[in-house]
Amino acid sequence: MSDLPTGVERREFDGVERLATRGEPVYGEPTDGEWRAWNPDRSKLGAMLELGMDTGLVGGETVLYLGAASGTTASHVADFAGPTYAVEFAARPVRDLLDAAEPRSNLFPLLKDARKPETYAHVVEPVDVIVQDVATRGQAAVATTNAQFLGEDGRLLLAIKARSEDVTRDPSAVFEDVCAELESTYEILETERLSPHHDDHLGVVATPR
């Protein structure tokens, strides 16, 4: 099992050891002092850490988060990372993302379309890590067009949702296709199914070629 990034710890909540970060609570999660539990069933990145994937995260990184939704995971990332740029295109979840971003001076919400990086390149600086969790078709294309933000030794932490690509196809076949498309831009370092936390999701750690 690889080390957790600084700022993420396993702590006991009601007798159960769980991942946790330090920050303002966001979604009614259990807290212990300033620590708050990070639920891997509600967060793909949480599941990747819980399953012991080697994310390469050490803490304090500059992060571009694509598909931040209501900020459940993005808030935990901002708790242990440095400047965190959170891109989400749907208006309703951004309302909640704003509540998560307000008390976090390093979390910058952007109401932008992750498929159009030129619309936020004037705000986002080059980053160490891209976290991607977008539920649209063309997830590999999103990762590829955003590769420009990643530094040489950067990491892409991607959760592929099979059902967003094609509900009717076998998830393994979808994962294979998405990974093959990624290979042109990224070198894939590790993949792992995110079950039992998330059905039909594949966690991917990759680095730009």
């Binding site: 400047p83 208006a91 309703r92 951004v94 309302r95 993302l97 704003l98 971003a101 307000e102 001076s105 390093n106 979390l107 910058f108 919400p109 952007l110 109401l111 030129e118 619309t119 390149a121 004037h122 705000v123 986002v124 600086e125 080059p126 980053v127 420009q148 933000f149 509900v167 009717t168």
Partner: protein, 304 residues
Amino acid sequence: MTEHDGWFAGLDPDDADAAVDRIRDGSAEAARDWPGRAVSSGLAADTDEYYERLHEATIAAARAGVHERERADDKQLIHAVRAMDDCERTANELAERVAEWAGTRYEDAGTGVDYARELAADDDESTDPSAAQLHALAERTAALADEADELRRYVEETTPTVAPNLAAMAGPVLAARLISLSGGLDALAKQPSSTVQVLGAEDALFAHLRGAAPSPKHGVIFTHEYVRGTHPDKRGSAARALAGKLTIAARVDHYSGDRKPELDAELDERIATIRGNVSEGGDGGGDGDDSDADGDATAGGDES
């Protein structure tokens, strides 16, 4: 500001509105070391100050963007039509409970929302506490049904201003439901007509895609007279023709907003052909959407 500039280039540090506009509408070819550039250009004394400004500006920009999108008329209409359905469903459910309860007390107890209204209107002189409770529940039910009626009136008034062609063709309530099911007029305008045809029949559609069922012929557009009032053998064709024209109407509403009554006339003609009421004149007005891919019905109409 050029494509090589950050959001802050040439910005007056005290002009918060301009910063918001830049975040929302600006663009750049590629990311740069914006914090470093902001400090060297003197916008911020150090990176901490830069991030502070960025935090303020991004939050204000996202809030303004959310506000603008959620306040749009079609989004308000979506909430209204969903609230209308919620109120109607809940009123019906409570009316059933009222009828059930009243049946144990009164010989002449009726059923439905109408009976709940009747009961609510009765002056209740009884001092029996359970009769009082029943009466209060009936009042509540009637009030909820009134609210549903109010919301329906609001939807009927508002839809024609949001989507004039769609409202004219589908009727305001069905038009609002279609907008609600696709998530907005813009999203509806981008749907292919085959999707519009089965909006609201998602369960059946996915059962079909899994290979377990035949494809659904219609979703909520079933409530339209042109589908429901057509013989079951020809409903698939009618649904396809209606969906095609509704899609065009939604696109006209979204992209131009002008009322085009000729669309309604084209649909009327097409449906008449499908139903076999006219001998000619229906074909030739086609736009491709209503061509008969599986040939299940137009043959009768065209040849009669």
